[in-house]
């Protein structure tokens, strides 16, 4: 059973968002890392780059597959988790903690309200496996 923390917001592309003032911390969910398998490579943007909601900001690769990652919110990259360059496995071992990917200065914080709640995301992943 995938771990889905109550206090986060979720996208249908399997990213999570933790709101910290006007900053959104973004990563991929436990469900996503499990589906992907051993993460061996993470490509992230540089601070200052701007992304619209649902735009691809980078990629995560396992031995077998490449997955793009999409920003659930619009804004500017404040910080990327560069430690994933040398330790991409953190995405597998701690997807909601050390495996975080970007901090986004939100340009439209209201977008968060349209994301899924933990309960909604759980239902969504169940539909996904059927």
């Amino acid at each position: 059973m995938a771990n889905i923390p109550e206090d986060l917001h979720y996208s249908k592309d399997h990213e999570w968002v933790r709101v910290d003032g006007n900053v959104a911390v973004v990563g991929i969910t436990d469900y996503a890392q499990d589906s992907l398998g051993d993460v061996v490579y993470v490509e992230l943007p540089k601070p200052g780059e701007k992304f619209a909601a649902n735009e691809s900001f980078g990629s995560v690769e396992s031995v077998k597959a490449v997955s793009e990652v999409f920003s659930p919110v619009s804004g500017e990259i404040a910080e990327a988790n560069d430690s994933l360059t040398d330790a991409p496995e953190k995405v597998n071992t701690d997807p909601y903690g050390d495996g975080w990917m970007i901090r986004v200065k939100m340009s439209a914080p209201g977008e968060v309200d349209s994301l899924l709640t933990a309960a909604e995301y759980e239902d969504f992943t169940k539909g996904d496996t059927e």
Binding site: D38, V40, Y41, V63
Partner: protein
Amino acid sequence: MTAVAEIKRTPLNAVHRNLGGRMVDFGGWDMPVQYPAGTVEEHLRTRRAAGLFDVSHMGEIDVRGADAIAFVNSITSNDVSKLVDGQAQYSALTTPEGTVIDDLLVYRFSADHLLLVVNAGTTEKDWAWIKSHHKNEAVELENVSADYCQLAIQGPRALEILQPLTDLPLSEIKYYHFAEGTVDGIEAIVSRTGYTGEDGFEVYAAADMAERIWQKLLDAGKYGSDDGVLPCGLAARNTLRLEAGMALYGHEIDESTTLLEANLGWICKLNKGEFVGSDRLAKQKEEGVRRRLVGFEVKERGIARDEHEVLINGERVGKVTSGSPAPYLKKNIGMAYVPTEFANEGQQIQIDVRGKLVGAEIVKTPFYKREKN
């Protein structure tokens, strides 16, 4: 009317599901791509201890009769007449153009009995192709694919795991040789072959015995312990063969690539007499190939994948046939076709990784070679 292809299952399908295998459609077969240990661990365990693979989806074609050797020699590129009883040979079914219908193993049981082991996804095509070449030769052909299961136990511990289960003296079976005997009392063919770059064996037995032999091998290999055998999925099978520099049908070789382009001149015995496509291959050998398969190592950040384009001096000159992270070598590697003039070790190339050009270098293959003791 649209025919809906039915998904095929090996006799171990339920076993894979019970082991937590993640099942995918592989050329019409419902197969495990990985188990819960994950591709990296499965790969490393095979290199360091042992991995167990269900390869029952492979096809088997029985060839019997006085003309068995002559017939198979006329449709395959390697020289079947060089085989002795109990020996196996890597070879290819060729088209009149010298390209590849499939790569295969030819097993010789006796002068009038051969077994062809072909790829899963091409079994039906191969079977039709082989039958279409059967004219007046004294041979009986039978597609016996469904009768057999095939399990591969691979890695440095493969011999010690399999030995207690069989009456055959395994250390006496040489590489690319096989013997008939029993495994756990079940009639089996034990072949010292594999697709991982490791020492190991492939066991062929009646399909309904698959589960029993599989379980015995897991038990004998102490599955569950830290250095025990691990069941391995298709993803690890692919990365292991790629590190070992082995071709995969549909990637490095297909009906658009010739054996010579794919560096398979060593299974292309042009002096043995005519075979399908031999005239074209002889001509190509004389004129030289225009492109060649090479191995490369990515030197910058990025992972080359199948179908990515290869650039040399800014020009798009070829495509990646297989590209992946290499879990044991801890590098990103791949194989690609490039024009012959550039097919040299040390040549710098670039790979177009989804729009980003990533530097790479042509290197010697195999990427990985086990230390022989």
